[in-house]
Amino acid sequence: MNIIIVGCGKVGSALAAELNEEGNNITVVDLSADKVNEVSSKFDVMGVVGNGATHATLQEADIDRADLLIAVTDSDELNLLCCLIAKKAGNCQTIARVRSPEYNTEAPYLKDELGLAMVINPEFAAAAEIARVLRFPSAMKIDTFAKGRVEMMKFRLPEGSPLVGCAVKELANKFRCDVLICTVEREDDAFIANGDLVFEEKDVISLIATPKNANDFFRKIDYKLNSVKDVMIIGGGGVANYLCRILRRSGNINVKVIEKNPKRCDELCSQLEDVSIICGDAAEQALLLEEGLESAGALVALTNLDEENIFLSLFAKRVCKGKLITKINRIDFDDVIKHLDLDTIIYPKNITCETIVRYVRAMKNTIGSNVETLYNIVKGKIEAAEFHIKEGSPVVGVPLFELKFNASVLIAAILRGRQVIIPRGNDTIQPGDSVVIVSNHIEMHDITDILK
């Protein structure tokens, strides 16, 4: 695929490296000749010096033959403008990094009306990742669909679980839970779950559910999630703001934010509910201990200074047994930091990069289709894809049990507006829905490919 990356900062060059490695043809664009030279001599990519939001520069980067433009400069406005011009000039897909919370709330509008394929907010993505770690520390892997409203979780069935010996079709009656078992991995095999499959010990199960239903299900099968009950967040920046919202929405977690700047505390206080906000300097150990660091379930260090975050986590490691999450902005010293044994480390830049790379992979695997996201559930064997259903599709309006599906296909979730439906036989697919399909690694270009 031909990809143009505008902006050669950390994220831009990380993307160039990763996407180039995966066999795409990359052209990088930046105003600074030094940066372009650095990236194009390090990786096998072509460099163009110029303003990515001008038609002439994009022409020089061969926008006519580009499949995708990714705008990751420092400026939100420039990124959006790049995407608009690219869309007009070359009719390619576009991805913009947008950091400002004002634009972030506009993301659906930007996507629908301005034709952007993806709007990525690094702070929100980081917050979502942190929230996932906090809620399911023992899950093996969590992927999200529909912007976080549906999750696919993978976990290993422990010995003596009530699920052992139970068939998939009995689940609904036995536990009364709205979850869908997608795949079961047993030793080296992986199956897409059908009704007759019986669970065994040590199976690795992946299931799809809303975050709330998943909690419910895990409680009923006595699976220890070790999810965190109270969280202490240091630093009240953008990530903290998003994180509080996500945590409050998904269940009963107590959140405490410590922020130095009184004005920022006021802002947070008026924006967030049910969150206790403490104005103080987290560098004072007495304050942390006073606020109950010793008994906290988790400490999330989110200040703007990497050094401070690292020190906070090192200190917290000595006094509390909870989960530690450290946000690091600079990715240059990651191997050094890895050796500090800091529990979980979050790099917002890497998360941005990974999210975009995942999108590109999906796009590449399904050229010419309307797949929104694609995940490997079991590498090379089973994958899950999210489709957008358009008017006039043959699957629309027919109850699912009447549709003739391919044997190895499972409809895992239907997303309608803000509503999430775990499908049963009587449900129907409506135009405008997004549908999550789990399948045996067949090439899917369109939703009709799942029919016989």
């Binding site: 180039n20 043809n25 096998d44 990519v45």
Partner: protein
């Protein structure tokens, strides 16, 4: 320094060289020449060493800038050392240094020979000489890169070190695709010339040889009279193709894409203007020597094209021309072809940059506070490029002067020495006086020949790789 990776690349280089030898082997088979066995022997030897060097799996594939330079300089040296084997083994050229001179002259597309009677060589040897031109013209490592994924992004270091010109740009994002496109253009142009030569009545052997030698802007002939005995039609075809091969190959890519404005860059236009001016001046100057102006024009254009493209074919002995013409010819020898072509010399783009910076310098003397940037085709010339062009010129002059002093021990006249170094460092072939188009380099002593070998390699690789190879800091850990 990543020695493992360097030996790995050299291993592949030898494997490819073994494959290249298929060309003379096939020629020998067609003409039933026994020298085929010398080629087979060398090829097998190269293949064994090559496979041994590439056998080991290398872990660290990172190449830094200096690795790129060292790889390029070593590769070309080793390529020539092995390429010279068949000449020496078969006894066609009894002295190994002479054989090496001939091979280096081939790979660097110089075309200077130590043989007084080329017609005495077996046909397979002639074919090998011409084929080394073709391979060396576009670059051996670029060729390998086109077919072999070496080391990802760091390939650019190799391409930069091997390609002629002050700055190297890619045509498409990937080095490998760029290399493939360049070789495809090169191949197609060669085939077109081959067909046109066949139409002019050349035999397949002659046409192949001439096409290879023109494409690489090399200049090894297979007749003692070079191109003098062929028809005017063939001479005109060769003239046109020598000029075509000395134009930046990026231009052809842009023409294929229909971007004509990008194709005719300042460099290409300047090159064509220089060629036209030189041809006109020389035609006027030499027309009394020929029967008609048309004939004078044909010979002057052939000679100008041959020398500015650094090919080195000749139709007449231009050493007998008036002084003015000879001076113009020596001047254009230095200018050379466009960057990114197969030709040698200082390169038109460097000359343009030098003249523009001279102009800029003069302006700053008059308006000391004026802020001015050098621009070519609307693009600012980066300070880095400017600096490397200046350093290139200084190194060029230094190597030139040292070479002249080094070969002066042979006690030949100054014009011979001066033009001999000019002809080798600019990869042309013939010079004036004792190294004129009808003469050869055979009479120089062994040390002088070694100096020429260094000059040819340095000239082809744009000086720096060879200098890096001899810089002690390169070899320090």
């Amino acid at each position: 320094m990543n020695f493992k990776m360097i030996t790995y690349v050299i291993g592949w280089l030898l494997t490819f060289e073994a494959a290249f030898m298929a060309v003379p082997i096939i020629t020998a088979a067609v003409y039933g020449e026994v020298e085929a066995w010398h080629f087979v022997g060398t090829a097998v030897f190269c293949l064994i060493i090559g496979r041994l060097l590439t056998f080991k799996k290398r872990k660290n594939t990172t190449l830094y800038s200096r690795d790129g330079f060292v790889i390029v300089a070593l590769s070309w040296t080793i390529l020539s050392i092995f390429g010279a084997m068949p000449f020496w083994l078969s006894g066609a050229i009894p002295n190994y240094v002479d054989a090496l001179f001939e091979t280096v002259s081939g790979f660097t597309t110089t075309g200077a020979s130590i043989l007084s009677d080329v017609e005495a060589l077996p046909k397979c040897m002639l074919m090998w000489r011409s084929f080394t031109h073709w391979v060396g013209g576009m670059g051996v490592l670029v060729f390998i890169m086109a077919f072999l994924p070496l080391a990802g992004g760091q390939n650019m270091h190799i391409m930069r070190a091997e390609s002629p010109g002050p700055s190297v740009s890619k045509l498409v994002p990937r080095v490998r695709t760029t290399a493939l496109i360049l070789y495809a253009i090169y191949f197609v142009l060669t085939v077109i010339e081959f067909i046109l030569l066949l139409c002019g009545g050349m035999t397949i052997f002659e046409a192949t040889n001439t096409a290879f030698a023109t494409a690489g802007t090399g200049g090894f002939g297979f007749l003692n009279s070079s191109m003098g005995s062929f028809s005017p039609y063939i001479q005109i075809v060769i003239t046109v193709f020598m000029l075509l091969f000395s134009i930046n190959f990026n231009s052809y890519f842009f023409i294929l894409l229909g971007r004509f404005k990008d194709a005719f860059t300042t460099e290409v236009r300047t090159f064509l203007i220089i060629v036209a001016t030189a041809i006109t001046a020389i035609t006027i100057n030499i027309s009394p020597l020929f029967e008609s102006v048309g004939e004078a024009l044909r010979h002057s254009s052939f000679t100008v094209a041959s020398l500015i493209s650094t090919t080195g074919f000749s139709t007449v002995d231009f050493d007998l021309w008036p002084e003015f013409s000879k001076n113009v010819l020596v001047l254009i020898m230095f200018i050379g072809a466009c960057a990114g072509s197969t030709g040698g010399g200082i390169k038109v783009s460097r000359i343009i940059i030098l003249f523009k910076s001279l102009g800029k310098e003069l302006r700053t003397l008059i308006h000391p506070r004026e802020v001015k940037k050098l621009k070519i085709d609307g693009h600012i010339v980066e300070h880095e490029t400017l600096r490397s062009v200046n350093v290139y010129m200084v190194s060029f002059v230094l190597i030139f002067v040292f070479s002249i002093v080094a070969i002066s021990f042979d006690n030949h006249d100054f014009i011979t020495n001066f033009t001999a170094v000019t002809a080798t460092i600019n990869n042309i072939g013939p010079g004036l006086e004792m190294v004129g188009p009808t003469c050869n380099f055979g009479f120089f002593s062994i040390p002088s020949k070694l100096v020429f070998i260094f000059d040819m390699l340095a000239g082809r690789l744009e000086l720096f790789p060879m200098l890096v190879l001899f810089t002690p800091a390169t070899w320090k850990k």
